[in-house]
């Protein structure tokens, strides 16, 4: 079979599977997103209350919802803002669909090679998920912090809003897909390099 046809069939199958499994996947991944978000929140006056999959308030399927509190200072007893962020479950499964389709549909000389790729891919994939969906969920907390800070003193050029906003915009404008593709290619290269080293040893 020609590579183009193999790619087209693998993509069609992956998109169909992704559409069917978007909600279960988001439920499965929610604790991981919550763990990453809590880790990031430690460096900020933020507290993550919940990351869960719920029905979309607009009645269009389900969304991954983060509820968090933002304080002016970490030592403040009471939060200054309650933040709710929503990401569609279909968007959350984009990265896994692109990444794993590329990794598993790429020609391999043996089943063993595929297993090495899957093992290396799992590690790279966890990093990609943290950089994409987990950080996308935190976007509004950074915005709330910046707004609170702006309320007490003039915004600085290194306002946290700028960096988070730039990253969020990059992901929304196709950067998430490109990141998943580049991550997939990096995982392939890394796995193949490990395979070559083991054969040489």
């Amino acid at each position: 079979m020609q590579p183009e046809w193999r790619f087209a069939l693998a993509t069609a199958a992956a998109v169909a599977a992704g559409a069917a499994l978007a909600q279960p996947y988001a439920r499965l991944a929610a604790p991981y997103y919550a763990a990453i978000d809590r880790l990031v929140a430690r460096a900020h006056p933020w507290a993550i209350q919940q990351v869960a999959v719920l029905p979309d308030p607009a009645g269009r399927g389900s969304v991954l919802r983060l509820v968090g509190e933002v304080r002016r200072e970490r030592s403040d007893a009471r939060p200054a803002a309650l933040v709710i962020t929503r990401v569609e479950v279909g968007e959350a499964i984009e990265t896994p669909v692109v990444f794993w389709t590329l990794l598993l549909a790429w020609p391999a000389a043996s089943g063993r090679r595929r297993l090495v790729r899957a093992a290396v891919g799992a590690v790279v994939f966890l990093g990609l998920e943290a950089l994409t969906t987990a950080l996308q969920l935190l976007h509004s907390m950074a915005e709330a912090s910046a707004l609170l800070e702006r309320g007490s003193r003039a915004a600085r050029p290194d306002d946290p809003l700028t960096l988070w906003e730039h990253w969020g915009r990059f992901l929304e404008a196709g950067g998430g897909l490109v990141l998943a593709l580049a991550g997939g290619l990096a995982a392939l290269a890394l796995a193949d390099a490990i395979g070559v080293r083991r054969r040489a040893a």
Binding site: P3, E4, F7, A8, T11, A12, V15, G18, A19, A22, D56, G59, R60, G61, S62, E88, V89, G90, E91, A92, I93, E94, V97, V98, H166, R169, F170, E172, A173, G174, G175, L177, V178, L179, L181, A182, G183, G184, L185, A186, L188, A189, L190
Partner: protein, 174 residues
């Protein structure tokens, strides 16, 4: 010589970030408004009204709206610009002669434009007539489908380019 997958992936990521950053910097300018509103959204609404005159769709700012239902508000990442930027980054990341790159970009731009308009039409009809399918279509199928088709186009372009390169030394040897 074709680049390694890792080198290609890194070049693609960096070039896409540069192109997307450049386009992001143009947000709010007359060029960006012309590109998104006049060149993409207005023709989309015109086609919707031509195909389904009963819709009476109109463009209000960046929202495709019609009586008796929700309007489609087109935000960042939904206009289809990223399709062209991805292709441009991929073609720039792959070694080829300038004329070959320009040819690939010109045909690819037309394809990206057509796919963007079709995607917006599909989103509009889904929102209006089949909101239950919105989750799967808006979040996954309609963003990835056009990207997959663009990727197929890129694969054809890059493999044709490789065949051309392989044929040239053979022709010279003959």
């Amino acid at each position: 010589m074709n680049p390694t997958p890792l080198a290609f992936g890194l070049r693609l990521l960096v070039l896409f970030a540069v192109l997307a950053g450049g386009f992001e910097a143009s947000r709010g300018t007359a060029f960006e408004r012309w590109l998104v509103e006049d060149a993409i959204l207005a023709p989309t609404v015109a086609i919707i009204d031509a195909v389904t005159p009963a819709e009476h769709a109109v463009l209000l700012g960046r929202t495709i709206t019609a009586p008796g239902g929700p309007g489609l508000h087109v935000t960042r990442g939904c206009e289809g610009i990223e399709l062209f930027l991805m292709l441009a980054a991929a073609i720039a990341a792959f070694p080829a002669r300038l004329e070959r790159r320009l040819q690939g970009l010109a045909i690819g731009a037309l394809l990206a434009y057509g796919l963007s308009v079709l995607r917006l039409m599909a989103l509009y009809y889904t929102l209006r007539h089949s909101p239950a399918a919105w989750e799967a279509l808006h979040g996954l199928v309609l963003p990835l489908g056009p990207v997959a088709l663009m990727a197929l186009y890129f694969l054809r372009w890059s493999s044709a380019k490789s065949q051309l390169q392989a044929a040239q030394p053979a022709a010279r040897a003959a």
